[in-house]
Each structure stands twice: as C-alpha cells, then as structure tokens.
Symmetry: C2
Subunit: 241 residues, 2 copies
DNA sequence: TAGCCTTATAACCAAACAGTTAATAAACGA
DNA sequence: TCGTTTATTAACTGTTTGGTTATAAGGCTA
C-alpha cells in the first residue's frame, strides 16, 4: 500500500491546520456513507478482476482512497466484504429487472426484448459475470448466508410465465415449456458467450467480441429462443396428423 | 506441508537399507513420469477447487505425495503448472470428441446425441468447467501462450456443419445457421446450468442438481436445439406464403 | 466548550506464501 | 565399479498476506 498519492477527496486533509472550515459542511471530512460506498466500489472492481482468492485487501483499500482498517471496520473481514459486494450486485440487477415492461407488447416481442436486454445488461455489467463465477466456485457459500439476497426474488420468472401463457393462448407458442428452464436458457446463451469469450476466441481463432460478431450473436440467440417457442413439439405433431 | 504421512507409493522408502531390491524393477523408486503425472493430477484438483488465485502450491505438493521442489523442477512455476493442467484438460476433451460418431445417424439424432454427450461430459468432468472459468478470468492468458492447445482444433464444428447441411437437404432443418454459433449455444445451455447451479439453486429455491431436475434439463436442452432447427425462419415463412 | 462517540490513520504482527538452496541418493552408461 | 546425470528431499528465505493495535481527531450534544 503506497502512501504517496492521497485521493482528491482527502487531499485537503494533509494541510496543516485549516481548523473549522466552512467547506466542511459541503464535503465533510468524515463521511461514513461515502467511505463505505467507495470501499464497496473498489472491492467490486477488485473481486471482479481477480476473484475472491486473487483479490488483495491492500489493493481494495488503496483503490478506495481509504485505509485498510476502515474496510474491517465496516465489513468485518474479506469474506464479509465479498458478501456485501454480492448483495449490492444482486440488488442492482433486481432493480433493473423491475424497470422492464415486457407485458405491454406481443408475446414474441416480449421474449425478444428479454433476450436483448439480458444481453445488454451483461455487456454493461461485466463484473456481474465474474463475481457470479467466483461465487459458484465457492458453491454459493456467501449467497446462502445472505438473507438480503434470498429475500429478493426475481419478477422475471412470473413475467415469462405470463408471456408463455399468452403466446400459447394465441397459438403461436408451443406448450409444455417450464418458465424457469427457459429463463435459465436465455441467460445461458448470453452469459456463456460473454464469460467464456476469451477462451472461445482463442480456440476458434475468431474475435467473438468484435461489433459484427456481437451483433450476429444477439440475432442467433433471438432466433433460437423464438424459433424454439414457435416450433411444434414432436408429441403434438403426431396428434395433429 | 505436513511430513507426517508419506503416500503408499513411497512408504517403502523410509525403511532402513533394503539396498538393491528386486521389486525396484517393478516399481522404480524414482519415476519421472509417475511423479510428473501425480503432480499434474493434484494440481488439476487444486486449481479446479480453488481457482488459480486461491490454489496453494504447498497443498498441491502434499496432494501429489511429492515435494514442492519437484513441482518447480517439472513445471517451472505455479503458472506454468496451471498451463500444463489446461493443456491436459483440453487434450482430454479433444480425445473424447474424436470418439464421437455423430454422422452415422439422422441429422436430428446426431444433434440430439451431441447435446446429450456434451451434457454428460460436463457432468463427468466438473473440473473442466471451473478451470475454464478461471482461465477466462485471466483472459485466456495461459491458453494463448500454449502452442499445444492452439494446435488442437475441435472436429465438432465441421461435424456439426455437415449435420446441418444434411438436415437442410432433407428439408427438416432451417437454413442460415452458423455452425459455430450453434456449437457455442449447445455448450452454453449445458455449461451455464452446471457451472452456476449453486447460485441458481439458492436464488430459485430449487435443487437443480437433483436427478429429476437434471433429467428435465437435458430434455429441455434437446427440445430447444431441435425445436429451433426444425422451425422456419420468419424471412422464408414470408416467402413460403 | 467540554466530553464523548464515531470515523480515520499509520504502524505493526504472525502466519502463509511462492520460490530457492544445498545436499543426497537412485539410475545408468562406460 | 566408477563417474555422471537425473530425481528427490528438507530446510530455508524474503515477501506478501489478512487482520490488529494504538492513537488521534472530527463533529455532534448538552
């Protein structure tokens, strides 16, 4: 931990004795919420880049422009901090999910938008992918401990179930589709491609993160999900004869 | 590193002075290949369980029933060992892929078997998933360095392309499907579900690794891939009118 | 303005860490 | 059987690690 460059926030603190500053009201020197938030942000970046095992507590403190002691003061220990990062990350995605209005269009357009928005969210929040990979490596140990996350349930499964019902009633969607399986599949098509793009690009000698390839991927994902839903299951095809 | 219990392999070495043993010819006390292999196996388990950052060199040496120095002797350093583990892992999956005979059945059955065998391979080799996640966290750094892996190319893309051509000729598969996109999607449907099963099971309150759920998942994956391939793309549907 | 709780800092610590040294013994060819 | 090479071990090293101690100072309240 280098003591060299203090963050701009605290740059004024090095000054000899400004005593009772008027500016202190605007930007208080001691702000628990701001410090906590900056540690959480630095920790998110560090855990996302290096995983839980590779993350360094000293780097997080430095990245937060704060002190290692503060990290333990607010979060207990490294794993407590990791859990807090997961809680924040899940809270963010749940908030984004709640903003989605998928039920005000046709079932086809609703599903297509879900595919596209899932893709867009993963691109905009790459830390979500690596943090989740880390947590799964640890068999969801921290997630199981977190009451906060276990209480947040995703509204998307119910929305997807409603879209499926409407499409089936209209005769354009096949029957017998489990909404959770479908949701996992939509996530899978986007997540795996993005999370594993480095090894995939290397092995297949194709830059899968280029603009052209990314565009092709969304098209393929939508075609796959909607093609599946539009298709007739073998059983009812036999009956239809 | 505890020196307590030597592995059964080397248990005889502690004995005072058996001098020139006849059994030495059967199981030589010094066997470079055997030591190398046991270090590689222990390292695979350790990296798979803890990731590159969380893996401990001491634990690997102990798990191999060998010595830390041997690890550096054969593999240079921790990252060199990780690269060797990746090379072995890729070599194994490529060997398994080559045994697949997907072209001696109908296109539908060929694709279904590919889906099922991909699933079965990931279940039988869970270390493949976590090692790949680790390598992607490091942006495929080791994979890019490895000439050995870059030389192994998967025969599956070409096989899949041939299956697609046959299905299209028979009129049962849709046109305009990129074999690589399809291959990635098949892998995605299995990989994401298995790799993220801990967080998914926790969040959705459903044990996704139970026998019943696993069976349901393969059925869903097959239905999705085959349903997609059987469906008619919107463009040609318009033309077909 | 004195007192007190909260927020912050720097220096510190023991354990764990990746990697090394030096010495030794098996294996093997001459 | 001797000398060289190769495989192996235990003990060691300097550094990094997660976590702690001791102390100070901001800022609210009475």
């Amino acid at each position: 931990m280098q003591a060299g460059q203090p963050s701009s926030i605290r740059a004024t603190r090095g000054v000899r004795k400004p005593a009772k500053r008027v500016t202190a009201a605007v930007r208080p020197l001691r702000d628990a919420e701001r410090t906590r938030a900056s540690i959480l942000a630095a920790a998110t970046a560090e855990f996302a880049r290096h995983g839980l095992g590779g993350a360094r507590v000293d780097r997080i403190a430095e990245g937060a422009g704060s002190n290692k002691r503060m990290l333990y003061y607010y979060f207990g220990d490294k794993e407590g901090l990791f859990q807090a990062v997961l809680e924040q990350t899940y809270s963010d995605i749940r908030k984004a999910e709640q903003k989605l209005n998928l039920l005000d269009a046709s079932p086809e357009d609703g599903v297509r938008r879900l595919v596209e928005l899932t893709w867009a969210y993963y691109i905009a929040h790459p830390e979500f992918l690596t943090l989740l990979n880390s947590e799964n490596l640890h068999e969801a140990r921290h997630l199981k401990k977190s009451l906060r996350i276990r209480e947040m349930n995703s509204p998307l499964i119910e929305t997807l179930a409603e879209l499926l019902r409407r499409g089936q009633r209209a005769g354009t969607f096949r029957t017998g589709v489990d909404p959770l399986q479908l949701y996992i599949s939509i996530a899978a098509l986007a997540y795996f491609y993005l999370s594993n793009r480095h090894t995939l690009s290397t092995v297949f000698g194709r830059d899968l993160f280029s603009a052209a390839e990314r565009k092709a991927r969304v098209a393929h994902m939508s075609a796959m999900v909607l093609g599946f839903l539009a298709s007739v299951p073998p059983a009812s095809r036999r009956r239809a004869r």
